[in-house]
Subunit: 224 residues, 2 copies
């Protein structure tokens, strides 16, 4: 279970991250809005904890941007004086909030409650149709077949496709997820990766059964 924590106060960030890690959660960190969104795209966390006031633009903007691409639970951190912001945050789609200062114990209780509410408690088993992806071992299982070993990049590609199974995912978004900043605009990278992945997972790579092309848009994982 992976949690993204966004806060510009390094001490608080580390403390929250540590408390979560202690409790067995995977943690990724970001200290400004740009890094927050980049990390979100790269890591696809199961939950986001977001300080409402960041120096580089508001945490509200980050929350809004996240809501445009995902329904992941979002928890906002606020200080008491920001109650109007809080209302806005909940309107935008934040799921819960915590008023500073708070104890790690409270934080954990709220996080668990959110995850339970989102029905995400059980592991990170990432699956769609007959496809099951194991992020730990970089392996993909199709139905009852022997599992296929994927490379690092192939795993990241499948991760986003499975998370969005059945929906078209734009080439731009896939590039950002797999390569981050660097791959931006480079269709050839994606073309190659898709080709190589199809060779591995498709019974007939020329007539894809799982990884479909949506001309002019991007790719889509067949819901089967």
């Amino acid at each position: 279970m992976k949690i993204l924590v966004v806060d510009d106060d390094r001490d608080l960030l580390e403390l929250v991250a540590f408390a979560l890690a202690q409790a067995g959660f995977g943690v990724v960190k970001a200290m400004d809005t740009r890094a927050a969104l980049a990390t979100f795209d790269a890591e696809l966390p199961n939950l986001v904890i977001l300080d409402i006031n960041l120096p580089s633009g508001s945490g509200l903007d980050v929350c809004r941007a996240i809501r445009e691409r995902s329904t992941v639970p979002v928890m906002m951190l606020t200080v008491r004086s920001e109650e109007e912001d809080l209302v806005k945050a909940l309107e935008i789609g934040a799921d819960d909030y915590l008023t500073k200062p708070f104890s790690p114990r409270t934080l954990l209780a709220r996080v668990r409650a959110l995850l339970r509410r989102a029905g995400l408690e059980a592991g990170d088993a990432l699956a769609a149709g007959s496809l099951r992806l194991d992020l730990e071992s970089h392996s993909l299982r199709i139905g009852d077949e022997a599992s296929i070993r994927l490379t690092r990049l192939e795993t990241r590609l499948m991760q986003l496709l499975i998370a969005q199974a059945g929906k078209v995912v734009s080439a731009e978004r896939l590039l950002a997820h797999v390569w981050g900043q660097r791959g931006s605009g480079d269709r050839q990278l994606l073309k190659q990766l898709v080709h190589r992945l199809r060779q591995k997972i498709e019974p007939d790579p020329a007539a894809p059964r799982y990884l479909h092309t949506e001309p002019g848009v991007g790719y889509r994982l067949g819901a089967d």
Copy 2:
């Protein structure tokens, strides 16, 4: 299982020591930084509980000194007002913390969690499949064969692999477990250790039967 407790407050020290002894742990005590390090070297405890503010220099210094010579789990004791110190402690390499006041029950739960995480919980015998590892004597037994003597590092490696038998363990995690902070990022260290271990335990080191490589991820102990 031996635990070192360091605190200048005699009452608290005795209370903690009593709770631990009650739960069946061996306890050694120290009341200042000098005694703490001397006792650590003399007793080589399996876990250290360390008050963060000692009159004779900070508990942080003690923690740092311990980290220079060992990856033993360290738990810090703090009061709520010392949160910056806490962040420093975690950076230095402390593994957990407890905010005073705390109940003996909480203390024990945390101590057990730490030991479990370090893979030190169940007696001294760890086993998986036909492999049995004796942490005391640093020896490994495969089925009914004569037991093989392992070095200190080889033992630590096997310890984590056996604890996670059948599952892939990332190179990063193995490095952290065997070398602590210092080994971070150094693949060559792990490469060598695995090589040497395979020479000792594998019938055919070129085609490993127990210690399998998971390319791009880490290693896995065959469930056999």
